[in-house]
């Protein structure tokens, strides 16, 4: 493949149009990414300046650190509590919203309203709802004979509280994506199934769920990645506590880097985060590719 002067010229023009984006990506994505990997191999001073080569020490420390294991476990529990329930709720509400009824758009807007709500706002509101003495949640529980816990004081319930908040925050996105998935299902398929005698729950499990499975899978990846990146609700509600119960991976990066000033150790955790997110995204890309292929 020889490069003619015309090739070079068109490449030059193309690069000129791409230059603003490329410069920004280089400065704030690609170079920092290389620096994160580099930092993870070094010890640093509190200023961030590199002192001595650490090799894989930080990674070995992570392997043996009980705190890191607790953090990964908290991240996993958080994901398990949040993602499946969030998607299931979203699907039920999306099916409800996927009807030709008058004023249906009002309901669609109301139920998807959480897409516009920031994590900070959501966390502050749920903080009030979870408040043991003022909050409505424990009052309602007491009316049905359940003694509500001190949600954010106990480790087991703190992660549940953060998960409920997160489910609410992602519900809007889940509903919109699933609704658009449902709207893409041809009406004839439902009619054919109806002729075959499918009704209600059977229709839902045999027709609806398989037909929106691409959307379900997309949300599974997107929501899991979002959980891996969740920081705001934890910072506002629990600050990683109590006793590290909500100190998920990102929160641990934040504390080790910006409170303990161990930039090298924190960078090693950032690399782990990167690998997790990249793995999930690559699975999705491959899945989508296959899907397009067989269609």
């Amino acid at each position: 493949m020889r490069w003619t002067s015309r090739d070079l010229r068109s490449l030059g023009i193309g690069l000129a149009y791409l230059a603003p984006s490329l410069v920004l990506f280089a400065a704030f994505v690609f170079i920092p990414l290389a620096e994160t990997i580099n930092l993870s191999l070094f010890n640093t001073r509190a200023t961030g300046a590199i002192t001595t080569f650490a090799g894989l020490d930080h990674y070995l420390e992570l392997l043996t650190s009980p705190a890191f294991r607790t953090g990964l476990l908290a991240t996993a529990i958080f994901a398990i509590y949040t993602v499946p329930i969030g998607i299931a709720l979203g699907l039920v509400l999306a099916v409800l919203l996927n009807q030709r009824l008058r004023a249906i758009n009002v309901f669609r807007t109301m139920m998807s309203s959480t897409i516009a709500i920031s994590a900070a706002v959501g966390a502050l509101i749920w903080l009030l709802l979870f408040n043991p003495s003022l909050g409505l949640l424990n009052f309602v529980l007491s009316r049905v004979g359940v003694h509500g816990p001190e949600w954010l004081i106990q480790p087991t319930t703190a992660i549940i509280a953060v998960s409920i908040t997160t489910i609410w925050l992602t519900l809007g996105t889940n509903i919109i994506v699933l609704l658009s998935g449902l709207q893409g299902v041809p009406e004839e398929i439902y009619e054919a199934a109806r002729l075959d005698g499918a009704r209600g729950l059977r229709m839902f499990t045999r027709i609806t769920v398989p037909m929106v499975s691409p959307s379900l899978f997309f949300l599974f990846v997107v929501d899991t990645v979002a959980v891996l990146q969740a920081f705001t609700q934890i910072h506002v509600m629990t600050r990683g506590g109590p006793v590290d119960a909500t100190r998920v991976l990102v929160y641990s990066i934040y504390q080790d880097a910006f409170q303990n000033f161990q930039f090298g150790f924190a960078s090693a955790q950032a690399v782990i985060l990167l690998l997790l997110v990249m793995g999930l995204t690559l699975i999705q890309f491959r899945f989508v590719e296959r899907l397009v292929h067989y269609q």
């Binding site: 490449l11 791409l18 984006s21 920004l24 961030g48 709500i117 920031s118 509101i125 009030l128 959307s215």
Partner: protein, 271 residues
């Protein structure tokens, strides 16, 4: 059939109220006095609605400044993203050059890199060039967008090639065609990118928390979260702050719902 519709509406009403309940409650509490909030059983609607909490927000934190900061930064990001993404999307749709595919993959690869994985070096960079507590520090890192480029490229590819050929025959330059034809024809997609950029910047928390220390440079999200860490936690005050911060984004949701939905569903495979 009628009966079924009634049942459906009942379900829809209940569902909507449950989902929107936390927001409605925040609005209700923002109109209650602190003493009313402290009564038992917890009230749902204010007995005597008052705007005192809103006045208190103005007296406690520089909320107007926070809103201004957030609007300046979010608008700057929107303008930046529209510029960089339209130029890049144009190169990826109308221009033909070697390495185009490779560069497109390079753009897409940024979608796999979580911002949190690069946040430490980015913080060190911003600090070393003296951009802590500045608008440029808050905005510039987010001015390029792979997602926006991807969305605009999809829109640009819908534009008939005949227009391009005709413009060439008329002697229009490459850049002129972008400005006079491609951009005006892609307004809906540009709207989607703009709404997305605004919403995601306005709702940011981690980055502004890191790089702003001066009270007057804080953004709305970080600013209201501070209310939680005041010495005495006044819930009416916090909820009034929450409503003031959420209103712009809710307005954007109502006005730009169609654009938002188009953006959200662009990534998902059609089911």
């Amino acid at each position: 059939m009628k009966l079924r519709n009634i049942a459906n509406y009942a379900l829809l009403v209940v569902g909507s109220i449950v989902v929107a309940f936390p927001l409605l409650l925040a609005l209700s509490y923002s109109l209650m006095s602190e003493s009313e909030i402290a009564t038992f059983p917890p009230p749902i609607l204010p007995a005597r609605p008052t705007l005192d909490n809103y006045a208190q927000v103005f007296a406690t934190i520089p909320i107007v400044r926070y809103l201004l900061n957030s609007f300046v930064v979010s608008s700057a990001v929107v303008v930046g993203q529209l510029l960089t993404a339209s130029l890049a999307a144009y190169a990826f749709s109308f221009l033909v050059f070697r390495g185009r595919q490779l560069l497109f993959f390079l753009f897409l690869s940024t979608l796999m890199i979580p911002w949190e994985a690069t946040i430490i070096p980015n913080y060190i960079t911003i600090r070393s060039i003296g951009w802590l507590d500045t608008y440029q520090g808050l905005a510039v890192p987010f001015m390029a967008t792979a997602f926006g480029t991807f969305l605009l490229r999809q829109a640009f590819l819908q534009i008939p090639r005949e227009l391009w050929d005709a413009a060439r025959i008329d002697g229009a330059t490459t850049f002129r065609f972008l400005v006079s034809t491609v951009i005006p024809l892609s307004r809906p997609a540009l709207g989607t990118v703009a709404i997305y950029g605004f919403l995601s910047t306005y709702n940011q928390y981690f980055w502004p928390l890191l790089i702003t220390n001066q009270t007057l440079m804080r953004t709305t999200q970080v600013g209201i979260a501070q209310l939680r860490f005041e010495e005495t936690l006044r819930w009416g005050l916090v909820m009034a702050g929450v409503i003031m911060v959420a209103v712009p984004t809710l307005a954007l949701l109502v006005l730009g719902q169609r654009q938002l939905i188009r953006g959200l569903t662009a990534g998902a495979v059609k089911g």
